[in-house]
């Protein structure tokens, strides 16, 4: 069950990044690895990594991408772990 939620979160992140563009997706992946030795799936436990990488790239407007991730997770947004993930990523 936990894995399913994590997969949903990863898919939401991937979709939001690919909606911007493939180079953005690649850059975020590379930066996550370079700065935190992490992958996108690690962002489920550490959403702040993704938030920081996006902020570095797009400044304050990174919140728009985070908003898009939250929107993708609307259907499962009442589940506790997703609530935690969404709260942490928005901080």
């Amino acid at each position: 069950m936990n894995d399913a939620r994590k997969t949903l979160a990863v898919l939401a992140i991937e979709k939001a990044l690919l909606d911007v563009g493939k180079p953005t997706y690649n850059e975020v992946l590379g930066k996550l690895y370079q700065d935190y030795h992490s992958s996108i799936s690690d962002c489920y436990e550490n959403p702040e990594y993704l938030s920081r990488v996006l902020k570095e790239l797009y400044g304050q407007s990174h919140l728009a991408i985070i908003e898009s991730i939250k929107k993708q997770l609307d259907d499962v947004s009442r589940q506790e772990e997703i609530i935690n993930f969404v709260m942490k990523i928005s901080e």
Binding site: G21, T24, G30, K55, L57, Q60
Partner: protein
């Protein structure tokens, strides 16, 4: 260490931009000092490599993105814009140097004007993924700035009573209007991406468009005054806007140089 390196790179590219702007400006002024004919020939030919550089960089950017995502489509639109303006410059050159015709108004204007919607589409598509961060206040204030920039230009155009025909006056006046329209997303972009790496692109886009506004207004003013010729110092500003746009695109290529290529096991990064 990483941030220090980024700052050094930014400083270095800023130095290079200033050097490029200064050298092109000085080159045109020297040509102008030698004589009007030299200035005309030199300026016509310098408008081949500089717009070509912008076109090449935009094609690289479009190829890098492909058609994926909003930014992929945005960079295709930017490449169309660059191609339109590159063709326009070459039409201008051929009209003036080979056919010895007055290049304004001419077929070049069709391509200049066609470039504006392409640029506007680029800006819209680039900003689209961030639309939830765009506030009404941002749109209103950037529109007000654009109108404020447009007013002096319109004043000079409508004030002038030269012998130019109505079509030339309307055509000349349409450029600052188009500049003012594309200025709006540029101001939104710089506000939106403040503090981010992509902000350098938008800063240069904004300065580039502002320089273009001054250049178009100057062009219109001196054309109506019958004192414009190719190689006139006002052309320096047109060149500068190409240089600023090109450095903006170049910086964006560097930002997205894809660290992914250095990793062999990409699947593990997901």
């Amino acid at each position: 260490m990483n941030k220090l390196q980024t700052r050094l790179e930014t400083l270095q590219s800023q130095k290079f931009i200033l050097l490029s702007l200064a050298s092109t400006g000085i080159a045109i002024l020297i040509a102008e000092y030698i004589g009007k004919e030299t200035a005309s020939i030199f300026t016509n030919w310098i408008f081949v490599p500089i717009p070509a550089a912008m076109l090449i960089l935009s094609i690289i950017m479009a190829k890098k993105h492909g058609i994926t995502g909003n930014h992929g489509k945005a960079w295709i639109a930017f490449a169309v814009f660059s191609a339109c303006w590159f063709i326009a410059e070459q039409v201008w050159l051929v009209e003036e140097l080979f056919y010895h015709q007055k290049p304004f108004p001419s077929g070049a204007d069709f391509f200049y004007i066609a470039g504006y919607p392409a640029y506007f589409i680029f800006a819209m598509l680039y900003l689209k993924p961030f639309r939830s961060a765009i506030t009404k206040k941002m749109i209103v204030s950037s529109s007000l700035v654009a109108v404020a920039v447009l007013i002096p230009s319109m004043y000079w155009t409508l004030e002038n009573n030269s012998g130019e025909d109505q079509f030339s006056i309307i055509l000349g006046a349409s450029y600052p209007i188009a500049d003012a329209i594309v200025l709006v997303p540029a101001i939104i972009g710089i506000t939106l991406f403040f503090g981010g790496k992509v902000n350098f692109l938008w800063s240069l886009m904004l300065v580039g468009i502002l320089v273009e506004v001054v250049a178009d207004t100057g062009f219109q003013y001196f054309s109506l005054d019958n004192s414009y010729y190719t190689g006139h110092p006002v052309d320096i500003l047109f060149l500068w806007s190409y240089i600023l746009f090109s450095f903006g695109v170049y910086d964006n290529i560097k930002v997205f140089k894809s660290k992914m290529n250095s990793y062999t096991d990409k699947e593990n990064l997901r």
